[in-house]
Structure formats: structure tokens, C-alpha cells
Symmetry: C2
Subunit: 413 residues, 2 copies
Amino acid sequence: MAVITKLRINSDRLHNRINHLAEIGQQPSGSICRLAFTPEDLQARQPVKQWMLEAGMAVRIDAAGNLIGRYPGKNNTAPVLATGSHLDTVPTGGRYDGVLGVLAGIEVAQTLKENGLQLHHPLEVIVFTDEESTMIGCQAMAGTVLLDTPNRYQPKTGESIQCCLERLGGSWEQLRTATRSRADMAAFVELHVEQGAILERNGVSIGIVQGVVGMQRQKITIIGQANHAGTTPMEMRQDALIAAAELILGVRKIALKMPSQPVATVGYINVLPNAVNIIPGQVELSVDMRDLSQNCLEEMLALLQDKIIAIADSTNTQILIQPLLTVKPSLADPEIQQSMKSVCQQLELSYLSLPSRAGHDALEMGRITDMGMIFVPSQGGISHSEAEYTSPEHCTQGANVLLQTLLLLDQSR
Amino acid sequence: MAVITKLRINSDRLHNRINHLAEIGQQPSGSICRLAFTPEDLQARQPVKQWMLEAGMAVRIDAAGNLIGRYPGKNNTAPVLATGSHLDTVPTGGRYDGVLGVLAGIEVAQTLKENGLQLHHPLEVIVFTDEESTMIGCQAMAGTVLLDTPNRYQPKTGESIQCCLERLGGSWEQLRTATRSRADMAAFVELHVEQGAILERNGVSIGIVQGVVGMQRQKITIIGQANHAGTTPMEMRQDALIAAAELILGVRKIALKMPSQPVATVGYINVLPNAVNIIPGQVELSVDMRDLSQNCLEEMLALLQDKIIAIADSTNTQILIQPLLTVKPSLADPEIQQSMKSVCQQLELSYLSLPSRAGHDALEMGRITDMGMIFVPSQGGISHSEAEYTSPEHCTQGANVLLQTLLLLDQSR
């Protein structure tokens, strides 16, 4: 790996900008409500666009409403090096989720400009549209939007996706023009807060993401027989909730036995008739399983299916399984991960490798280009809350790792 | 035991009357909706009162709205022998639940009258008020109504209990006058359909009830920590639904290990926030345990409390337990059970002894007098449904066992 430069981003400017954006959509509780496509979302894009221009970038909006700043390269026809994240939040969002990645990207360009530098590759900083809900921005870039079913994309504003995209300057009809390919994007690197507590628990400054986990989400329906809780002897019961309890514990056991440390959760359950004195006749529940390895996900699903057959048999119930959602894992490029490790060593920052167990724009970008992600610690692992906090030092460290990683990739690509 | 007489009830009349009452409140589905205190409930009492008068009984209504027919005894100041049941139904009731016991009681009186006979004791046939919901009728007779808290009695009509009682000719203010005692009631015997499948499964005609089970009903609250189903590693979770699943299976195991074959049910569960991608932070559930033995109920409750402590510890949750309802078991008098066995042997009817695991008017009557119950088979164990069915033969057999048991008790008391 090449020598690390002395270049550093401007820490004060980064934090002033984080504070500036935190006021747009701020609620009395201190949380931030900046749902995609709302006036607050549009309002936040104004200073960001201005800062892109100040950083020497040309700014455009693609058909998916993604706001893209381009800092020219020495070879301006080369595939771009890209970074970025999102400005939209959940209804009770924090100050760092998304924002940090966007502002750190702009810092990279502005630092280059202020030092009179250009990369060989053009550099793009992307504000992706609606990461927190439809993920239409990154999916359009990855070409994974189903154009014949616009109703599958339901913005939180309650409006149609077509109307929402136009408000941002995009166009559903032109969506295919937003799609990028490996030929015009050499790599994508995203900086994001961890939204988990692994870095903090390990006292580490930088997380080098191995990939964004995939997901298998299933709907399970258990059909037993509702009956009188007094007059039905234990051995004559077809209690759907007994079967559900065995399944809930079984799902946990499946996750615990896999070496890659996947997670598996039953978060939703609906019982019928749900009365104190009636044996449950029917239960619906969800199973959500996540791991970085597609093989692991498939093995867990197979174990779940075996478990279901055994439980249906032992509880005298019928159990149906239906897929709700399948997302394939998106692995980070090994060379990008290696570059990040070199950078951390040179900057004398502690680091560890970990999967991202939450979804990110990088998940989709990893489908079309070499992808990498940098995590910085979230205090208490808390996110999507006014209590979301990452220290200024950690934010700065993350942005400098992003800068140096892009510099390294510029040389190696 | 004394010799069984040749007296038999009039089977045709009994079935004509069952059919007659089945038309009052009958729904298009064939089920019967005759909620207590409704016009249908009042309407059903009219022919019943008429049939009591035809059977030579004096009819009165007590302060709890109980309709009481009294057939005089040779010693008319002796404590009464009582029988009866109820005419009200659940919203989707069947034709036999309650009705059979009332009409069989009237058959006993009418059979005596038609044969010019009198017992030594006066005979009372009681139509208890609102067995299916508040049980105000039998509770008032047993003196267990809490007079200072009328709001605890919520008739299904949505009206106040005071207003409902007056409609039947009763009076909340006078309720104490409905209370009976061992001094004025020598015994109470109720004929009822089983509402379970034990007699049918054993191919037996008559069930001799050992008692009506008691109930321990608890509300359990499990407090864990809601968290992101993706980013929270399995070992850091405080998943309230995992604790609930262990508890649901634990409750079943507790019931299965007790020799008296109690039942225990988790019928109700409420999960927060109940979202596919969030680890459950809080669960509320109900535990309903029933057995004939108060010792068994107390032992089960102690085992449940031990289990809760162990589960809270192993799942890193907090678990609270609150009593919802406690009903002590009501045992049938051994001599009455023995009389029923003699009667079955003499009538050459197969029989077995079993607990009643559903509540009945006899539960309360057993608190103030010697109590017995006769069950006849329910086809498929089904009740509270238009599919509720007991064959005419079984109904007649049950009524004749009631008649002969009362004749025996008249001699022995």
C-alpha cells in the first residue's frame, strides 16, 4: 500500500455542518424528523448543494432524485470513485445517521480543492433518496427497481412515488437513466455510524465493514384448534401457541448454533382468538434472519423448515411458511477492506472488522461496484433516537479514514 | 341404598320443550343467542314458568331474578331439595347448555304430580340468572356477591346490573334476601351436558361429577428491552418474547407433571412493539390453571412462581405476576355421588366419575349446601356452538338419573 498523505479534513467545519443540519426537522424532544420527500428533506438539500459547489463540485440530480456532486479527476473520463449516504431520517431520527457520510464526502472534495489537488478518477458524493424507507435512490442506481410495480414503493408521506420523485427533481419514467454500472463507477465507500454497540464495547475507533448482511424474512401461520381452556384435557389439545413457543425458542437455537453469529428474531406475533379462557386456535408470527453469508441464510432456512415439520408433528398442528422478504448479502470488496486497515494502521487508529447488520445505501451499491463501509462508534449502540451520539473525535477519525481510503483506491484502481 | 322406583320422566315432553326453547333467540346459523336480561331471556322464562305451574309448583322470583318453582313436600317446612340450571346462553349458544337441567327438573316435579306423589322435602327447580356471564343468580343464593361493588357485575347488554335485575323482577338493594343456607336447602343436584368429550370417548352414558374445578388466573408482565433486530447480537438481547415462550412451555409442563390431571393454558398474549424488525421489549400474557384440588392449584402456583424467577434470570428480563381471579374448587358431596352410582347401576347405565372443568351454577351452590352434578355426553365435546348436540336418549337418561337421585336423597336426608 502506498504512503498515507498528510491531508486531513477540517474537523470544525464538519461539526458545524452536522449541527446546522440537525436543526432542520428538529423536534422538541431533540430528535429529528426529516422524512424523505418532505419540506424538511428538501430544505436540508439546499445547504448541502451549496457546500458541494463550494467544494468545487458540479451538482446534478438524477432521475431517482439522488443529489450528486462531482469533483473532476485528472482523467475525467475514468470511472468515478463514489462516496455518500443520505439526509432523510426515520420519524425519531438522530443527528449522525446518514448525515455524517454525506458531509464527510464533501469534506474529502473540499480538502482536495483547498490543497489544489485532483484525483486521477472523478470523485462523486451522492445524497441517496429515501434510504430509511423505500431505498429508491440506491436501488435505482443499482438497477434493482421493479419499474412495472410503482405501488411497491410507498413513501412515508402517503403520496405516490412518482409524485415524490418529481418534487426532488427526479422522474419515475426516466428511472433507468439513474442506473450505474461497474464501467462508470470504480468503487463506492460509505462512512456511517455503527448503530450498534460492538465498537464501543471493544473500545475501538473504526469498524471495517465486511459486508451488509442479507435477510430472510418469513411469515409463519400455525393452525391448531381453538377450544375451551377448562374442559379440554392437556393431551387432547391442538394449541397453536404451544407450537409458536417451541418455534420461537427453536429460531433462537438455530441462530446460536451457526458459527458466523447470525441474528434471528421473532418480533411479531398475532394470536386468535387471544382470550384468557380459550386455547389459541391460530398464531401468525414473523421470523427475521440475517447474516453475511448466503450459505448460512440458506442453511438457517432449511433448519427452520425441518423444525417446523417436527413441531407440527409433535403439537398436532398445521404450520405454513411463506417468504416475506429476501435480501442477498452484499460483501465488501477485500481490497477496499485491506486499504482501510492500512489507513487505520498508518493513522494509529484502533479498528476491527464486523458485518453491518442494518441496511445501508452501500448494500445496493455493492451489487454494481466494489463496495466498502467504515463504521464509527455509536454511544450505547443507540440510533434512530435523539440519544444517538458519536463523539466529534470519532466523526473526524471516520472522515479521515474515508479520505485516505479514497486516496489509496485512486492509486490502486 | 333404597330400592329404585319405576318412575320415569316423560321423554317426548322433555324433547318437545327443548325444541320449543331452541326457537327463542335462534340465529340463521342455528345457534342460539339468548343473553341474560335480553327480551329473548325474558321470553324463554314465560313457557318455563307456565310448565312449572302445570307441574304443580308455586312460582316466585327472588331478588337476584332467579325463577324458582316449588313443589310442596309432605313436610313443607323441611329444607328443600333443589335442582335447576339456566336459560341464558352465550352469543353463539347451543340447545342443551342450561336448558336441559331446567327442563329435567320440571320433569321431576311433573312426574311426581302425575303419579300423585310428594317427597318428604319440598322440591325446588331453579332458573338461575345469567350463568354465562356475571353468575349473579347463583352467587346471590350463595351469598358471595360483593354488594358494595355493583360495577364488578357487567351484564352483556351493557346496562347496569341494577337495571337488569329489575327487568327480571329482582332488586339489587334486596339481593341479600336471595341468599340461601344449609338450613333451608338440604341438597342441590344439577343435570348438565358435559361440554367436553370424555364421556363420548369412553362410550359412557352418565358422568358423575366429583366437583367443579377451582381456578387460579394470573396476569404475567415480562419487561425486556426493545431493540434493533439486525444490530443487536443474540447474546446482548433482553427479548421479552423468548422469556414468554419459555413460560408458555413451562406452564404446560407444570400441568403435565401433576397427578390429578389439571389443565393450564396461556390463551392471551400481547407483545410490544410487535414489529417484524424489533426485538420484543414487553409481553403481557395470561395463565389460567384449573383443578379440583385446592392443594394442586396452590402447588402449581408455587411452581409457576419458581419458574418465573428462573426464566427472568436466564433471559435477563423482569417478570411480574398479578392475580386476576381466584375461584376455589367446589367438591360434590360424596354421599350424593354414591347415590348417583347406585341409580346408574339400578338403571343399567354406564357411568364414570370426572371433574367438571367448566363453571356451573352448582359451583356456587356447593358453597352453601351438599351439591351433586350429573353430566350427559356432548357429541364431539362441542358446546357454545350450533353444533352442540346430546342425543334424546342421553337427555332422557340424565333426567331419569336426576329423578331417581332426588328420590334417594329424599329418603336419606
